[in-house]
Amino acid sequence: MSAARTPAERATRLLRWYPRAWRERYGAEFTELLISDIAERPRSAGRAVDVAHGGLTARLTAAGLAGCPLPAPGVGVVTAQARYRQVSASLGSLGGALAVFLTVAAALWSELVIDRQSMSPPEPPVPAPASTALLATGVISAAMLVLLALAVLAVLPVLATLVIRFLTAGRAGRGALAKPAAVLLGCVTFLFIGGRHFENGWPGTGGHGSFVPAGLAAFEWATSLSVSAYWAHPASFFAQFPRLEVGWMAASPLALAASVVAVAVLVRRAGLSPRVLAFEVKLAAAACAVMAVVCAAAAWWVATSRGNRLTSAGIVPPFHAGLIDLACTAVLAAGLSVAAQAARLARRELLLARSTV
């Protein structure tokens, strides 16, 4: 039974809330403090909550989403190098938030395009939900194009740095870069092949045309199939869909998560130069602005088109937003919030690093 644990064992368990770098720096002394505290107050819910809060804050700090970097051992203050590492961590977190954001935005966007392409040409005057959706589709499409351009601009200097590092590194250094690169390549290949395969089930063809190429919309639809309200209804979900498609819907977000982690690891291990970091921080700010536009367009469409009103034929009319769209908009807002926080801290640490001797 866990009640029989010694103070030292309990302190060690509490210490697990903190990330490894923090434990290496403060772990021993913090454990001693916890042991003394536990000996004095054996039962304290407040202590457990406080340590959990401190540990989560330290983890957010390690991810570049809170606080300030740890002071260098033996030096005391935070070095410029540590601050540049923190900028990389913030950019990695921003990349993760952006990946989630793009997946959910792609799901919303492809839904709008499906509705557009599967409906009959509306008789003038165009009904309000359709005109709002058309405008939202246009805004989101343009924003996604800009995000794609920003992503290409962001990737190029990182790729160049990685190639140089790989060519000049020793065997161990190459291995440290090759493993996450292999994971990234594998996951991207899986997502591409899966997207190309499942795009054949695209339901948006055969109707009214759209300014979005059907092939692109179909691919986006297939890669974001996991963003679905069917997860809330597992019985009908498993009964209605082929096993392979269910497997794809479960595996594709995992592949995306693995690729995001691989990118974050690569960015950290690449040791980007201050100049490249400054460039990436500028792109991050621009990406946040574009994400805000996507978020606003999605929120506007959802706010003006809420409700699953059925037609007399029992069909949901096009461009009517449901609960899943509301949830998607909430995720977009959360993704934007995380990205904005990461971009803000990356900029702050970059400025501090430049002023650090």
Binding site: W22, Y26, A28, L33, L34, D37, C68, L70, P71
Partner: protein, 118 residues
């Protein structure tokens, strides 16, 4: 030259501490008396301020203070590492406490003038 609406604490070393300014003030005040390790800090603060700093809060504040060069970790033979105040920490604490004292003096003076019967 300070801006007209700038608070005195804005120029102090604790300006960026936000909600950790309270624990930071208590820790710096405790270390002003000499180096201490975590548990000794907790006991000292409890004694002079009547506040018990929880372990997580204490170390969040210690890490921030150390990263800004306001305190310094000392070498130690055992696992309990002591910390000492730096010159920058002493200056930051002095500025912060001066600002606090002005608030305290003003409050007490106004209480005395308008609520003397209590």
């Amino acid at each position: 030259m300070p801006k007209r609406d700038e608070r005195p604490s804005d120029r102090a070393g604790l300006a960026g501490f936000g909600r950790y300014a309270g624990p930071a003030t208590l820790i710096l005040s405790s270390l002003a008396d000499g180096p201490k390790h975590g548990y000794a800090l907790t006991k000292d603060v409890e004694e002079f301020a009547g506040v018990r700093l929880a372990p997580g809060t204490l170390y969040e504040a210690l890490a921030r203070l150390e990263s800004q060069g306001l305190i310094r970790a000392l070498e130690s033979d055992d696992r309990r590492r002591p910390y000492e105040l730096t010159a920058a920490g002493a200056a930051a604490l002095r500025t912060h406490l001066d600002a606090q004292r002005r608030v305290t003096d003003t409050g007490l003076r106004r209480l005395k003038a308008n609520w003397a019967t209590g």
